[in-house]
């Protein structure tokens, strides 16, 4: 058995935070799972029964090669096939801003899963604001490296935008983490203005309103 600390250091910090939100033995659907790094970790260290959807064929092939149950698919078109309540957790990591209909996707996440875990880059991050303010151009940063005309990220939102959408569609935020540029969790307890300015990215654990 591999040392679990080594495994932890081997996966991205935001994935680590997501993994920590998932209880052992759960059924997990990872949407936009890439090469299946999170799923592999969850399978190995949390005995999770995991499935994945990934848009890029290269990612899917690599994940299946690793022995994971992953299909080539698209969050916008393929979620409707999944029955309600078929998973404990549905994970959407760094993908929401690239979907065509984020609201529909979000609703689907919480139809399919008891909980959803969603992470996204915060467009309200102060550097993005400054970039736009001073340069008058769309922000280009290390987390948003694409030019406006070739970006897959077609629906950016800020932390406050996201919180407001959750309220609108009847989603309860159970846990919220703001990450700084190095992926460290910021000690921000509220999701107010300060977080909206200082969070580089955000990770949420969500459930349906009771």
């Amino acid at each position: 058995m591999k040392d679990s600390r080594n495994a932890r250091s081997a996966i991205r910090i935001d994935l680590m935070l997501i993994a920590d939100m998932i209880s052992p033995g759960a059924r997990v659907l990872d949407i936009g799972c890439g090469e299946g790094i999170l799923l592999e970790y969850l399978g190995q260290f949390k005995q999770v029964d995991g499935r994945g959807i990934e848009l890029s064929m290269a990612g899917v092939r690599e994940a299946v090669r690793r022995g994971l149950s992953v299909i080539q698919g698209n969050a916008d078109t393929d979620l409707k096939d999944y029955p309600s309540d078929s998973f404990d957790y549905v994970v959407l990591s760094q993908t929401l801003q690239a979907t065509r209909s984020p609201r529909v996707v979000l609703e689907n996440l919480l139809r399919i899963g008891k909980y959803a875990i969603v992470s996204f880059p915060n467009f309200g991050y102060w550097r993005n604001r400054l970039h736009l303010l001073l340069k008058g151009r769309m922000p280009l940063t290390d987390s948003l490296p694409y030019q406006w005309w070739d970006t897959p990220n077609i629906h950016f939102c800020t932390v406050r935008d996201f919180v407001s959408l959750c309220g609108e569609v009847g989603i309860t935020i159970e846990q919220a983490l703001a990450l700084d540029r190095r992926g460290r969790v910021q000690k921000l307890t509220t999701l107010g203005m300060l977080t909206n300015t200082l969070a580089y990215q955000a990770v949420y654990r969500l459930r349906r309103d009771r």
């Binding site: 899917v60 092939r61 994940a63 299946v64 022995g67 992953v70 080539q72 393929d78 096939d81």
Partner: protein
């Protein structure tokens, strides 16, 4: 090639130089979808590797329309390597050091299993068109009887491409509790109108050959080789892709520097197809071709499910790995995707990979490293749940 030479499992079966055969359905004949009961009947099969003590390492390989049980042996007629010999052997994708592989010639086939060219004991003449029309489900029932006979109740995996994929899906729906993992490759849950159309062209070509003799060519000592060759030529085009044909032949002329203003095989592609047609006739029976193409045409898993494919998989515990190829226009990716969607709808355990290649439908028979590594990954993942199937690492 390492071959399982005897295992106590194959009492009663006969090992001829060209493979194993067994007579099944003595006590209980096989009731076919068409309503006819058939039995006893013969199934010819090959095995590779050894069945383990817990009988948990069996993989059933399902062959395609013109394939047969000689997956990894030299073909007894053509002498060519088995159609999946690339995948089979110690340490290979289908590792004969770990798995016990079984492949049987389908019912209705012409490589030793009961089919239209064999003798009907009731009349002492070849069955010809008096052979009952069979379905993919019938083929699978016969395979299940073979496995009962071999003492294998649960298959670690059922795998096959094209018509083999149809059998895989039929296995997973007819005998879900007997199938731990299923790998349908380049297949569909139902034969499309276009594919039925191509099959009809092939069948009409055979039947239009005067040597077909209304199906009784064997009795007349004839072979409808022209018709069967044309059927094969037409079908062969559907197994390739425009890009693959162009890459291989382009408009290159065949052994000549200019066109002849006639109807000889001026172009290499013509000569290639003629060759494909003529060699096929040596190894395949024309009536078998009619019967097996018909079985494929009739295949539609939704028929008994009120038109909803997902119902066919409801409650399945089988883990699936669906594979398609980008340039396959005979069984395009959209067909595989429909299977995946149906499996998702019942929250089944499914992987789906589309392999990028320009080799068309035939890619499943060819050297496609990405395809092969995908299979290895999937089988490893599935084997991880079977303690006795894990590869020994450095012990």
């Amino acid at each position: 090639m390492q071959r399982s030479h005897h295992s106590p499992l194959v009492w009663g079966s006969e090992h001829k130089p060209d493979g194993w055969t067994v007579e099944l359905g003595h006590e209980q004949p096989l009731l076919l979808d068409c309503g006819t009961a058939i039995g006893p009947f013969t199934i010819a099969y090959q095995t590779y590797g050894q069945l383990n003590a817990s009988r948990s390492n069996a993989i059933l390989i399902c062959h395609a329309l013109t394939g047969d049980q000689f997956v990894a042996d030299p073909h007894p007629i053509t002498g060519k390597d088995g159609w999946w010999s690339m995948l089979i052997g110690p340490g290979r994708v289908l590792d004969t050091d770990r798995f016990f592989l079984v492949c049987s010639n389908v019912l209705g086939g012409c490589m030793g299993s009961t089919g239209p060219k064999e003798i009907n004991p009731a009349t002492d003449t070849p069955w010809a068109l008096s052979f009952p029309v069979i379905t993919i489900a019938d083929m699978v029932r016969a395979q299940a009887m073979l496995l009962d006979y071999l003492g294998i109740w649960r298959l670690f995996c059922v795998i096959g491409g094209s018509m083999g994929a149809m059998q895989v899906l039929q296995w997973a729906t007819s005998y879900p509790e007997r199938v731990f993992a299923a790998v349908p490759i380049a297949g569909s849950y139902r034969h499309s109108a276009q594919n039925i159309a191509f099959h009809e062209v092939g069948r009409r070509a055979i039947m239009a050959d005067p040597d077909w003799c209304s199906g009784h060519y064997l009795r007349q000592g004839k072979v409808p080789h022209r018709g069967l060759a044309v059927a094969r030529m037409a079908a062969h085009i559907t197994y390739l892709s425009e890009a693959a044909l162009h890459r291989r032949f382009g408009r290159t002329l065949h052994n000549r520097s200019q066109v002849t203003y006639g109807f000889d095989a001026d172009f290499q592609v013509e000569s290639y197809l003629r060759y494909q047609g003529s060699t096929f006739v040596d190894r395949f029976d024309a009536n078998s071709y009619l019967y097996i193409t018909r079985a494929m045409d009739y295949f539609d898993l939704t028929v008994e499910q009120g038109g909803v494919l997902a119902n066919a998989f409801r409650g399945t515990k089988t883990r699936f790995c669906v594979v398609s190829f980008t340039s396959d226009w005979l069984f395009p990716t959209s067909e595989s995707r429909a299977i995946v969607h149906a499996l998702n709808a019942v929250a089944a355990n499914v992987s789906f990979v589309e392999i990028e290649t320009d080799k068309g439908h035939d890619a499943f028979l060819l050297d496609e490293p990405e395809f092969h590594t995908t299979l290895v990954g999937f089988l490893e993942g599935a084997a991880a749940e079977h303690r006795d199937l894990l590869r020994c690492r450095g012990l």
